[in-house]
């Protein structure tokens, strides 16, 4: 078994206790950075590592940090712990079980951009996790690792948590900033980007929990060590959240570039009840659905390969497995209903588009009283939304719709065949695994 870099708590019991974390090298990287490295040296090391944002967009972290102007102050760092994409549950495990490594990463990012006040934005449902993070922060203050003039230097840092209250859209970085400012969680028009005009109108870096957790070993062991893991353009390890029709759902920390086949059949131990794999959603509910043929299964899971070979984004690597009992009309109804519920209502194409897609998808999936034109209309509404929304949520809502209609048309025709076509309410098909692999 290769050494775990992020999910280290699986090897080290009680790693969420500060003394245990420190006994295992914890805060050596932060101490080293603050006492011996210039902020720009921390940024350069992270750039050298090739670390890309783990929240979904895959933007190089060091490059992002470098965007903050040095003539506008103060700077802020905000950790995005609003993990809400259906199929994603990786940040939660880090926050619950390895919280100090995440906090040390946030502290390193704060030092790198010389922020003296940083925030952890957690989704409100992470109520108990937030209470633990608050205790961790108090422990760090008591240990002299947070506060004024750290390690006798001029650098000071405070951390605070801020709880969301149930809104997927707050994972979008500008909506998240609005939420911290006490407003509705609705995305901002960009530019200006948060690097210039972020939290409280000041230059701000927003990073995902997993991204920040990677920073600690990078500073400890060097960017060159990190970039030797995984493929050249997507270096490092990634936590793949595996769920859906799979024998062993859970989080798997693997090098980027691991194939779908290895994740699903070696680590996830395959599909239950002897069923066949039908499709993969690699980026949660926002996925372009991938037909699970041999070519797809042998594709390496890194940002470039999945996009270039399969035309689907890897996103936050929330891999939902669909077996041959899953009807795609039923699935589209589920994903579209999610996005309708979570649309913030600010821009018209998304607010109206998700609503009408949901009406149509429900009629196609549930009612049985379906006109064939409904399917074309559904696809038309989806296409009309694309590229016209204020943030990515609108586009995300169309991905499963269009890729399902294009690749699994027979599933919708089955739905169109009238009431009773969908007998198993759990998977949207009758109990006989009669759906073709399309």
């Amino acid at each position: 078994m290769p050494e775990l870099i992020l999910l280290r708590h699986r090897d080290i019991p009680n790693l969420n206790q500060l003394p245990v974390y420190r006994a295992n090298g914890g805060f050596e990287a932060f101490h080293k950075a603050v006492t011996t490295l210039k902020p720009v040296e921390v940024i350069n090391e992270v750039r050298l590592s090739g670390l890309r944002g783990r929240g979904g967009a895959g933007f190089p972290a060091g490059v992002k940090w470098n965007f903050l102007p040095n003539d506008l102050w103060p700077h802020y760092v905000v950790a995005n712990a609003d993990e809400s994409e259906p199929g994603t549950f990786k940040d939660r495990e880090i926050l619950e079980s390895n919280p100090f490594q995440f906090l040390e990463g946030l502290m390193l990012a704060s030092y790198a951009v010389q922020a003296n006040l940083s925030y952890v934005y957690l989704r409100g449902e992470f109520w108990q996790i937030a209470a633990q993070i608050d205790r961790c922060i108090a422990d760090l203050e008591e240990a002299g690792l947070l506060g004024e003039k750290l390690f006798g230097t001029e650098y000071s840092l405070r951390l605070h948590t801020h709880l969301g209250a149930g809104a997927y859209i707050c994972g979008e970085e500008t909506a998240l900033l609005e939420s911290i400012e006490g407003n509705l969680g609705q995305p901002r028009l960009r530019p200006p980007f948060p690097a210039i005009y972020g939290l409280f109108g000041k230059p701000t870096v927003i990073n995902n929990v997993e991204t920040l957790t990677n920073v600690v070993p990078i500073i400890q062991r060097g960017g060159n060590w990190y970039r030797a893991i995984g493929p050249e353009k997507s270096p490092g390890v990634k936590i793949f959240s595996l769920s859906g029709c799979i024998n062993r759902p859970g989080n798997y920390e693997l090098p980027l570039g691991t194939t779908f086949r290895e994740l699903i059949f070696t680590h996830g131990e395959g599909i239950p009840e002897g069923r066949k794999i039908k499709a993969i959603m690699a980026a949660g509910a926002s996925s372009t659905i991938i037909v699970a043929d041999d070519r797809a299964l042998d594709t390496p899971m890194d940002y470039e390969s999945v996009q270039q070979q399969l035309g689907a984004p890897l996103g936050s690597a929330s891999v939902i497995i669909l077996d041959d009992s899953v009807n795609m009309a039923w699935l589209v109804n589920k994903t579209v209903h999610f996005f309708m519920h979570e649309s913030c209502g600010k821009c018209t194409p998304c607010r109206e588009g998700t609503y009408w897609m949901s009406q149509l998808a429900r009629r196609i999936s549930d009612d049985g009283k379906v006109e064939a034109e409904d399917l074309d209309l559904l696809a038309k509404v989806a296409r009309q939304m694309q590229g016209k929304c204020l943030c990515a949520l609108g586009d995300f809502s169309t991905m499963a719709v269009l890729s399902a209609i294009q690749q699994f048309r027979p599933d919708f025709d089955r739905s169109l065949s009238g009431p009773g076509a969908l007998e198993n309410p759990d998977h949207g098909t009758g109990s006989a695994p009669s759906t073709s692999d399309a």
Partner: protein, 195 residues
């Protein structure tokens, strides 16, 4: 900030009387001039005891942060974990919020929800006759690998309950009923339905 905390004595000040230290601590998290950031933490504080937010709480928070009641209400209305006291809306002590999003649904969440409703004799969105439990359907809670699951919102907290069956959920429900009964029987201890 101190000036703010000595709000006009004629106005509502339940929160200020009940949680002065916590309010001070919440306000200290944000830079000077950005007290509006405290609106969400204060809304959580307002619904801690009863499980819902009253119009008086809205007015007090607006006063504290020097923003309009419309601003406070709009934030409370936007986020699903806040519950405004409204006519015709249930004000249960506990909300059982079942995730029925795609990964959970692939593992029996829709069935679980249906059976749980049947066991309690209510529909989604309805409250048990004792006023204690409302069942709600919610979006992804980042527990996709442990479906079926729900979160329990109530008593000023949120807890996760994973790998659930109708039986395990009913055990929890009975335990909560029991503890409410016991706290009712003990004078001076907070408890009882707030319906």
């Amino acid at each position: 900030m101190n000036q703010m905390l000595n709000a006009n004595p004629l106005k509502a000040r339940r929160l200020l009387d009940q949680y002065p230290g916590e309010i001070r601590q919440i306000l200290s998290k944000y830079p000077a001039g950005h007290t509006r950031s405290a609106v969400m933490p204060l809304l959580f504080l307002a619904q801690r005891e009863l499980g819902y937010i009253t119009q008086q709480d809205i007015e007090e928070i607006a006063d504290l942060l020097e923003i309009s009641t419309t601003d406070v209400s709009s934030v409370a209305g936007f986020y699903t974990l806040f519950h405004l006291q409204q006519e015709g809306q249930p004000t249960p002590r506990y909300r059982i919020q079942v995730c029925t999003d795609l990964p959970c649904a692939l593992n029996g969440a829709d069935h679980f929800l249906e059976e749980l409703c049947a066991a309690l004799g209510i529909k989604v969105g309805e409250t048990t006759p004792d006023g204690l439990f409302t069942i709600e359907e919610v979006k992804c809670l980042a527990a996709c690998h442990r479906a079926p699951m729900f979160q329990l919102q109530g008593d000023g907290s949120i807890t996760y309950h994973e790998h659930q069956t109708v039986q395990t959920a009913q055990v929890l429900i009975e335990e909560l009923r029991q503890s409410v009964q016991e706290s009712k029987a003990t004078p001076g201890v907070k408890g009882g339905s707030n319906a």
